[in-house]
């Protein structure tokens, strides 16, 4: 099991979230369309940003709340905040 590559989803599956009802991060898709670099695709550790066709699809549910996408986005497309009411990622062994 541990000797083979795993899907990112399967690695993430070991984590615990209490997903917030509203997304805590919003991404301006129009800016993504103009974005050549798209560093979020490779550097978001939870792979919340994926490419579907030519569109960058963002889903907040698996977010680890690290803040990387906020810093690396060259076009200020990421409207970033924390979840509320204790929701979001729940680290236990880090």
């Amino acid at each position: 099991m541990m000797r083979k590559p795993m899907r990112v989803d399967d690695i993430l599956n070991n984590d615990v979230w209490d997903v917030d009802y509203e997304p805590h991060i919003r991404v301006d898709a129009t800016k993504c369309r103009e974005c050549d670099e798209k560093p979020c695709l490779l550097l978001c550790p939870a792979q919340c940003y994926t490419l579907v066709g030519n569109e960058v699809l963002f889903s907040y549910e698996g977010c680890l709340e690290c803040g990387t996408c906020r810093l690396i986005c060259p076009h200020d497309a990421v409207h970033w905040d924390y979840p509320v009411s204790g929701r979001g990622i729940h680290f236990r062994f880090s």
Partner: protein, 428 residues
């Protein structure tokens, strides 16, 4: 905005090491303290590598040795230079107990419990939206449409420091000043850990790796042994990673787990958690920005007070100690008559006089050195090539200098080598 019916002497934002240390110190002195944390419990949002220096925490928390969640005392240090399927390691083994491994999630929870025991109020599940600034003075915090007031706010919100940014007190963090840490915590039994890493019960290993372990990105990899798990991960400099990243960042951690020389350690394990967090990537010639204002002090990662030497992180103890000094500054300002910027400025003096600023100043060039790409490819290659020639030449073994010359050739010129060496010796 509605004012709630309770008022505090001090509000501390963030129950990480910095916030809890500040809140604990003040609660113990009888201040009415509110510690606010956005996580469901203190610690649930916190991530680090794995090792904490104990003495600064002993200075802050009474009875530290009685109940702190210490997994293993780090008695073994290993530093490895990795290239291809080879690594050269330095190892230091002792029996001294200076630093220990733990989970930051657990340690933060422990610290916040001490705050409650000392009489502080700890609120979880509360995400602070804003510092309330009135007439140039911080007078409290805003959560939703409600305000809680205090004489002073200690901001210990960690590296993303949204509140400071929203209040216009700091600019957005620059890419080159942040590192991205990603890690897997892998479950193994106690015995497996002790057998695999040559440790006795209670002993731990801190293993730092440089070279191909970060896929050519400036940064480093780490492995810490916990009680019955290992923390395996890496930190890459974001400014460089944006340009150089080739595949999904989780693949870099996976490559570590599957590395032919490392895979043997994790074979029988299973991943318990996958986490990520940013880390300050700078050491300062002076304070990064002003850490006090009317009614406000800033401590820990939010203040950029972390010593990152590449081969060692001092974040938790620095954060806790800066929180402690912020508390001392509040005490002094109280004696002087109030939480004005002038009275609170004593905080910077306390920082300057402490080991924190002395160390940060001493190592101010360490991060510049770590931007040097040769550290991550050329030097591990040269070193491993020398070792390879020395130990894997079946008949004719070269002299060390000879091996070195051959290894160096085409990889690095003498001038760069000398410059790098001097730079390295000077900065760390």
């Amino acid at each position: 905005m509605k004012e709630v019916g309770y008022k505090f002497d001090v509000i501390v934002v963030g129950a990480g090491p910095a916030g809890s240390a500040a809140a604990y110190t003040l609660a113990k002195k009888g201040f009415k303290v509110l510690l606010v944390e956005r996580g469901r419990m203190p610690g649930t949002k916190n991530v680090f590598g794995g090792r904490v220096y104990a003495d600064p925490l002993r200075d802050v928390f009474d009875g530290f040795d009685d109940s702190a969640p210490i997994h293993r005392w780090v008695t073994k240090e290993r530093i490895s230079m990795v290239s291809g399927e080879a690594m050269t390691s330095f190892e230091f083994h002792t029996r001294k107990k200076t630093s220990f491994t733990t989970y930051l999630t657990e340690l933060s929870c422990w610290m916040a419990k001490r705050v409650e025991e000392a009489g502080g109020t700890v609120l979880t599940e509360i995400t602070v939206d804003e510092l309330v600034v009135e007439n140039g003075r911080v007078t409290g915090i805003r959560v939703g449409d409600e305000k809680v007031s205090s004489e002073v706010v200690i901001d210990a919100e960690g590296i993303n420091r949204l509140l400071l940014e929203r209040a216009g007190l700091v600019p957005k963090l620059e890419l080159r000043h942040a590192g991205l840490g990603v890690k897997e915590v892998i479950k193994l039994s106690k015995k497996e850990i002790e057998d695999l890493f040559g440790l006795e019960e209670g002993e731990g290993l801190a293993w730092l790796m440089m070279g191909e372990v970060t896929g050519g990105l400036p940064g480093g990899a780490f492995l810490y042994t916990n009680r019955d798990s290992v923390s395996l991960g890496l930190v890459v400099m974001l400014g460089e990673a944006v340009k150089g990243v080739r595949e999904h960042i989780s693949r870099y951690v996976e490559a570590l787990r599957l590395h032919p020389l490392l895979e043997r350690y994790f074979r029988n394990g299973r991943i318990m958690e996958y986490s990520a967090h940013l880390v300050p990537e700078y050491t300062w010639p002076s304070l990064p920005h002003r850490l006090y204002a009317d009614g406000l002090l800033v401590a820990g990662d939010a203040a950029g007070l972390l010593l990152n030497l590449g081969y060692n992180f001092r974040g938790v103890d620095y954060a806790a100690y800066s929180g402690y000094l912020a508390a001392k500054a509040v005490e002094k300002a109280h004696e002087m008559g109030g939480m004005t910027s002038e009275n609170l400025s004593v905080y910077e003096r306390l920082l300057e006089e402490s080991f924190i600023m002395k160390q940060l100043r001493k190592f101010r060039n360490a991060s510049k050195m770590r931007e040097n790409g040769r550290l991550y490819s050329t030097y591990p290659e040269v070193l491993n090539s020398v070792m390879d020639q020395l130990f894997h030449s079946p008949y004719e073994v070269p002299k060390i200098m000879e091996a070195f010359k051959r290894a160096r050739k085409g990889r690095i010129g003498w001038l760069d080598l000398i410059r790098d060496l001097l730079g390295m010796v000077r900065s760390i």
